[in-house]
Amino acid sequence: MLTIVQLLTLVIFILTYILIIDERIHRAVAAMAGAAVVVFLGIVPWESMLEHVDFGTIFLLMGMMIIINVARHSGLFEYIAIITAKRANGSPIMVLILFSLVTAITSAFLDNVTTVLLLTPMLLYITKMMDLNPVPFLLAEIMSSNIGGAGTLIGDPPNIMIASSAGLTFNEFLTIMGPIAIVDTIIVLVMFVLIYGKSMKVTPDEREVIARTINGLDERAAIQDMKLFKKSVIVILFVVLLFFVHSNIGAILHPLIPFVDAAMTLEPAEVALIGAAIILIWSRIQPDEIFEKVEWTSLFFFAGLFIIVGALVEVGIIAMISEYMISTVSTTQDAMFLIAWFSAFASAIVDNIPLTAALIPLIHDMSASMDIYPLWWALSLGACMGGNGTAIAASANVVVLGVSEREGVKITFFDFLKLGIPVLIITVGVGLVMLYAMFGFL
């Protein structure tokens, strides 16, 4: 039986999440308002409020936002988009495959929202030139972004949150989620080729015209600042390299610089902030110009969410759900199964960020009775791949659909659902089997 405080907390939590889903008021405002209420009512005491906010997630997001915003100034993304289009040699199916691969790879290392925001206008432009229905291309871009983002620690906000809270490293993500992302990307691309391949066939003459038109685009014209372009590429590569070694940076540096502790590690957030500092110093762009483009609303949204979920922890609701789950599932495999599928389908409705925020403390709470290490991967799999389920399941979906609607291309909720749900089921199913195999459950 719930106490009045528990009931009240649950009501505030549900109301806040409804506001976030509906978004009639800005989701950051909804999250902050919910957080304000739980703090005002003393459910989350002021002293412990900051303990609930995961600054690892917030600083990692902030650092990456700064890097991306500087890189954007250079025209890097537009350059990548034109080069990709040219490589297709006028074949529409190759445009779909190459754009999907580029989106998946870029989303794995950079922010999904920025990636799709910058690639979608180019994709729409090229489909217009090819005189083809842009919908399959856009759907492929969304799915690739969500699947590619699942492959690394920094690829998707749920992974950032999970890694920060569970202390997982970039290389752990790469070795466990990376192969799943690769296999799922291939499967989804094969699905697209089978479903839409026929409708994308063009005659050799048409193909030549398309190739000629696309080859007429000048990728160098996209580069707004060549010096900044080179600096951005170097800093992004350096940051990615630093992510690869962040968990054993001390062991690498110690033989070269003896006073560096061999046991020293860098948090992912530190890596992002180091990258941000380097690019700000090196690019010489006025920092206020970049800082004002940091998505503060997203950061406050995350902070608000952490506090609201913290309220559920404070009043014991998370412990109650955890106890119930432990009594329902007897083995780690069962728990993985439950978490992966629940998070996948719930993400499709709620949006994977607030869902992950709510499930992280639940998994922490289960640590007393089972090995929760495999559960983090089940959560990552479900939350990231669940983003493909519906049009509102992930931010990348909303961005692509929003851009296409502004450009006069409509993708209905059911158009998305028809493909999104099968993709969700296949990618989570395949991913779960791979996780079972990796953890020796098969």
Binding site: H26, E78, K128, T213, K293, S298, A391, I392, G402
Partner: protein, 180 residues
């Protein structure tokens, strides 16, 4: 607007903010527009003239001839100067000014017509008192292309520099433009 469409719009606005407008503008700067990509059929060409224009080159006539279009030669005498002369001197002085300018206009248009018609262009003529910028810009709505002589409206045609009026016209009209 259905709930779904409204929801996507709200979420898009909240996630992207005003970033999309910037992205659109950046793409606009280096991608040719759909209109620019379409081969444009040129059927009617506007060719403004005045006292400062001295003639046409054979190369220009060759170029205009390739369109096999209707070329409208529009010779304009500045109405304001005409009015000032009438007010300051006499109505007859104003008329003399107009007749003198239009005599030059007729001979100029004769030369241009002689150059264009053998190359397949159909030449039409108009001659009137008016504004050298406003009347041309207004007329462009009915044409597919404009040819602007670089000394059009110039106070010093012998210098060969692009006149201020030609510059204004080239920047104001939304048509394929030839400045010669």
């Amino acid at each position: 607007m259905g709930y779904y469409s409204g929801l996507i719009k709200r979420k898009f606005k909240d996630v992207v903010g005003t970033r999309y407008e910037t992205v659109q503008q950046e793409y606009h700067e280096f991608l040719p527009t759909e209109e620019e990509l379409l081969p444009r059929e040129i059927k009617k060409i506007l060719f403004p003239l005045d006292i400062s224009v001295q003639g046409v080159t054979d190369e220009l006539c060759d170029l205009l001839g390739t369109f096999e279009a209707d070329v409208s030669l529009m010779y304009i005498t500045d109405a304001k100067i005409y009015a000032i002369i009438q007010d300051a001197l006499s109505p007859q002085a104003g008329e003399d000014f107009r007749i003198k300018k239009e005599e030059y206009g007729t001979s100029l248009m004769d030369r241009i017509e002689t150059c264009l018609e053998p190359r397949g262009a159909r030449v039409h003529r108009r001659m009137f008192l008016g504004d050298k910028i406003e009347d041309v810009v207004r007329a462009t709505n009915d044409y597919d292309m404009i040819v602007i002589p670089k000394t059009y409206g110039s106070h010093d045609p012998a210098s060969g520099e692009v006149s201020a009026i030609s510059m204004v016209l080239a920047q104001s009209v939304r048509l394929p433009t030839v400045v010669y």
